[in-house]
């Protein structure tokens, strides 16, 4: 028998917006049960990669296989089935502001599963307990702090017990203690549920703490993909710039700069 297929396989992905190409030939594999961190500076293409993985954007070329399914070749029913196994926690939370926290978390369950109301109620409360929001079920999103919104969004992403969890910038805008708690939670979820987790972040500390492997994107290309040690010890100057927060020199000829300012 073949080895179990990886949770994510991206091959030669090319993607962008209009004529602007953002990702150039990205190839990436994430094993089942692995925590993969996707890092890179602003404009490196990490959000575009995430949007393509989630099916929010279509690639120009290349293939994406999630949980063994080629996402470019799914019919509507197959796509829905795949989506049931995928949880996403967006950077801004993306909670529905007119629903309570509990109703937000219950939403995917009411949409995708046939369960008794009592079961859904218990599941929602269990998820909120897991993310340390026990007792906040009846609050509205607007009443929550930034860290609480992230945790509520995570609870909703976990509602269906996904096999694959995407987490966009978990630490952005959070204090160090809350962000460290979220890191611990990601580790616990993987260990207890065997979930495959992809975290997009530019927080080094968090990346090194939770990653099994790290992929560093730069200018839409994979600069390096390896273990925490591989990345730490990488020879690449760009990787070291990112790790040591060094500003990068601007390479632009006087002519090019002039043309750009002149709008030519």
């Amino acid at each position: 028998m073949n080895a179990p297929s990886p949770a994510i396989e991206v091959e030669n992905l090319v993607a962008g917006y209009g004529n602007r190409r953002i990702l150039h030939d990205v190839t990436l594999r994430v094993g089942s049960g692995e925590i993969m961190i996707i890092m890179g500076g602003s404009g490196s293409g990490k959000s575009t990669l995430l949007r393509n993985l989630l099916g929010l954007d279509r690639p120009s070329s290349g293939t994406i296989r999630l949980l063994g399914r080629d996402t470019g070749r799914l019919n509507a029913a197959e796509r829905l089935e795949l989506q049931r196994n995928i949880g996403v926690s967006f950077q801004g939370g993306a909670l529905l502001s007119s629903l309570t926290v509990g109703e937000n978390v219950a939403l995917p369950l009411r949409e995708h599963a046939r369960l008794a109301d009592e079961t859904i109620g218990v599941m929602v409360r269990v998820k909120l307990e897991v993310v340390n929001l026990g007792g906040f079920e009846h609050m509205m999103p607007a009443q929550l702090s930034g860290g609480m919104v992230k945790r509520a969004a995570l609870a909703r992403a976990l509602a269906m017990d996904p096999k694959l969890l995407f987490f966009d910038e978990p630490s952005a805008g959070l204090d160090p203690v809350v962000s460290s708690e979220l890191d611990d939670l990601i580790l616990k979820l993987r260990d207890a549920l065997g979930m495959t987790v992809v975290v997009v972040t530019h927080e080094l500390e968090s990346a090194f703490k939770i990653a099994d492997r790290i992929t560093v994107l730069d200018h839409g290309k994979v600069l390096i993909s390896g273990t925490v040690d591989d990345v730490r010890n990488a020879d690449s100057e760009r990787v070291q710039d990112l790790l040591h927060r060094r500003s990068r020199p601007v390479h632009l000829s006087a002519d090019d700069y002039m043309r750009r300012l002149a709008g030519e």
Partner: protein, 107 residues
């Protein structure tokens, strides 16, 4: 998921095994709630559970809640490692009465 129901020392024992997820947890829930509705003290054997998701966990919570309302005894026995890690994640390992075996529970 596969299951069987046995009786031992005055308890109905619901043995669950395999993967308990959204597709079969309503069945597990029904099995447990039916024993309690019949007025039986109920234990759930999780020794053969390879995976349990939160819908399965919710069924156990509902079972315990129902048992308490009806003054019946309820507990988990021989919890597999896979099930225990999920119970711990939800901090339910401190909530459910958990025993190594039926004999251990009865003693």
């Amino acid at each position: 998921m596969s299951y069987k129901v046995t009786t031992d020392s005055g308890y109905a024992i619901v043995h669950l095994s395999g993967d308990i997820d959204l597709s079969c947890s309503p069945e597990a829930r029904k099995l447990i709630l039916e024993r309690l509705a019949a007025g039986k003290h109920t234990l759930v054997d999780l020794s053969g559970v390879t995976y349990i998701d939160s819908s399965g966990i919710a069924s156990l919570v509902e079972g315990y809640q129902t048992a308490r309302k009806k003054n019946l005894q309820f507990g988990l026995i021989a919890v597999s490692e896979a099930a225990m890690s999920v119970l711990e994640l939800a901090r339910l390992d401190k909530v459910f009465p958990i025993h190594a075996s039926v004999a251990d529970r009865v003693k």
